[in-house]
Amino acid sequence: MTAGDVIGGLRRRLKIGGFLGVIGVAIALQFIGEQFPFSNFPMYAGLSSRSEFIYFTDVTGTKVGTWWWFGEGGAAMMKVLRSVWKKENSNESRPYREDKVAQKTAANYVYDTYLAIQPEEKRRQIEAVGPRLVYVEVTVKDGELVLTETVLVEREPVRP
C-alpha cells in the first residue's frame, strides 16, 4: 500500500481537498486567534481613523533612537503598553486612550521593565539624560492628518 492509497482513502472518507482544507484551516485560525504558532493575522484589519506610537527624548526634548536605547522598536513597545494596560484594567470597559492616569501607569511600568533588562552601563546612560516617553496619536480630522503628543513618562536626570 502506497502513501497515495492511504491518503486517497482518507480523502474519500473525509472528502477534504485542497480548497476545503484552506477554508477549514482559515476558519479554525479565526477561532484560535493569536496563540503562537497560530494567528488570525489582524494587522490593519480594523482600519480605524486613528493610530498611535511612542518615542523617547532626553530632558531637553532631543529625540533619541528607541532601538539604540532598548534594543526594541517603538511599535512593539506600544503593543506592550496596550497589553499591560489591558491586563491591569481587564474590568474597565472604556478605551485606555481616554484614561490618562492608567496610560501613565502602564507607560512607566513598560519603561521600567525595558530599562531593567538593559546592561548596567546602558542603563546608567539612559537614566543620566532624563528620559521622556512621548505618546503620539495620529488622527484624521476634517480631511487633515493631526498628530497629538502627550508625555507619559518624565524622569529627572540621574547623575552617576
Binding site: A3, F19, L20, G24, Q30, P37, N40, G74, K87, L145
Partner: protein, 308 residues
C-alpha cells in the same frame, strides 16, 4: 464580448481541481532544502527572550525561559540543523521535524510573550507544524493499516507534506482577509483611506527608532495624498485583499500557485515600499512553495530547446 469573457472565466473556475500537484522528487528535495535554510536563517536572526511576562502560545503551558539563554539557543540551532539535514534527505518528517518544530514554536512563543504580538514567524511555524503533522498522520495510518513503518518518506508522503504546507500558508492569507472583512463588516476596501494614519505611524516609528542625529522628521507625502484623494487607497490596497481572500485558488495547480505566489510577493513589496514593513519570511515561503522557481526554470530551458 464581456459576457463571453465572464462565461470563459466561470467555466475555468468551475472546472478547477484542487488535486495534489505531482511534484517531482528533485523539486521536493530543493523545496525541503530551501525551507530548512529559511528555518535556520530565521532562528539565527532571532534571539528568544529569557522571560515570559504575558504568556502566549506554548508559554501558556510551559515555562520556556531556559531557551532564552544565549548558549542554550546556540545549541538549539545546531540540533535543529542536524534534524533538518536528515529531513532534507528524506528521513521521516514525523521524526525529524518534531525537534525543529518545538524549538521554532518555543522561540516564537517566547518572543510573543512580551506583550507585543509580532507576525514574522507564524507562517514558518505553521508550515513546520503542517509538514510534521502530515508525515505523522501518514505514518500512523500506515502502521494501523498495514503494520509497516518506513524511516524514509516516500514520494507520496513528501507530496502530501508539501500540499499541507501550501494549505497552511494559503489559509493564513485567507484568514487575514477574513479578519479584515469581519472587523469592518465587509467595508474594508472603503476604509482604506484610513491607512494614511498607519502610514504616518509606521514611517515615524521607524524614524524615531533609528534616529542618530538631529534629523528632521519627514512625513510620508503619500499619507496626505491618500487623505485628500480618497479614491486612490482602494485602488492601491484593494487588490491585496482579493489576493488574500482568493488565495485558496493557489492550490489549483502549478500555474495558479505561481500567479498567486508572485501576487503575494508583489503585495509584500508594495507594503514594504509604502509602510516600511518587511516580511522576508513570507516572501521566501512564496518563492519556495508557490512560485517554485526551479520548476519554471527547467520548463523554460526545455521550451527554449524546443522539447515542449
Amino acid at each position: 464580448m464581456i459576457k463571453s469573457a465572464f462565461h470563459w472565466l466561470w467555466c475555468r473556475l468551475t472546472s478547477l481541481s484542487d488535486e495534489r500537484i505531482a511534484f517531482a522528487q528533485w523539486e521536493m528535495f530543493l523545496m525541503r532544502a530551501a525551507f530548512a535554510g529559511l528555518v535556520l536563517w530565521s532562528m539565527g536572526k532571532n534571539m528568544p527572550p529569557d522571560s515570559q511576562p504575558l504568556p502566549n502560545g506554548l508559554c501558556i503551558l510551559f515555562d520556556l525561559t531556559w531557551l532564552g539563554q544565549p548558549a542554550t539557543w546556540a545549541q538549539a540551532q545546531w540540533i535543529t540543523a542536524g534534524f533538518l539535514t536528515c529531513f532534507v534527505f528524506g528521513l521521516s518528517g514525523g521524526i525529524t521535524l518534531l525537534v525543529p518544530m518545538f524549538f521554532y514554536v518555543a522561540m516564537g512563543s517566547l518572543i510573543n510573550s512580551q506583550g507585543a504580538i509580532k507576525h514574522h514567524s507564524q507562517l514558518i511555524a505553521m508550515t513546520l507544524v503542517a509538514m510534521w503533522l502530515s508525515a505523522l498522520a501518514v505514518s500512523i495510518w500506515r502502521i494501523f493499516r498495514s503494520r509497516r513503518f518506513s524511516i524514509f518518506d516516500d514520494v507520496g508522503t513528501q507530496r502530501i507534506g508539501i500540499q499541507w504546507a501550501m494549505i497552511a500558508i494559503a489559509a493564513s492569507y485567507v484568514t487575514s482577509a477574513f479578519s479584515k472583512l469581519l472587523a469592518t463588516d465587509g467595508t474594508w476596501i472603503f476604509r482604506t483611506p484610513n491607512l494614511a494614519v498607519e502610514l504616518v505611524k509606521s514611517h515615524l516609528t521607524v524614524f524615531h527608532d533609528t534616529i542618530t542625529t538631529s534629523q528632521v522628521v519627514e512625513y510620508p507625502p503619500l499619507a496626505a495624498f491618500l487623505v485628500e484623494h480618497v479614491w486612490v487607497a482602494p485602488l492601491l490596497f484593494g487588490p491585496g485583499l482579493f489576493i488574500e481572500l482568493f488565495f485558496f485558488l493557489a492550490l489549483a495547480g502549478r500555474g495558479w500557485a505561481a500567479v498567486f505566489g508572485l501576487g503575494a510577493i508583489l503585495m509584500h513589496v508594495i507594503i514594504t515600499l509604502v509602510m516600511k514593513l518587511v516580511f522576508p519570511e513570507h516572501e521566501a515561503l512564496m518563492l519556495i512553495f508557490f512560485v517554485n522557481v526551479p520548476f519554471w526554470a527547467v520548463v523554460s530551458v526545455r521550451w527554449a530547446r524546443g522539447k515542449i
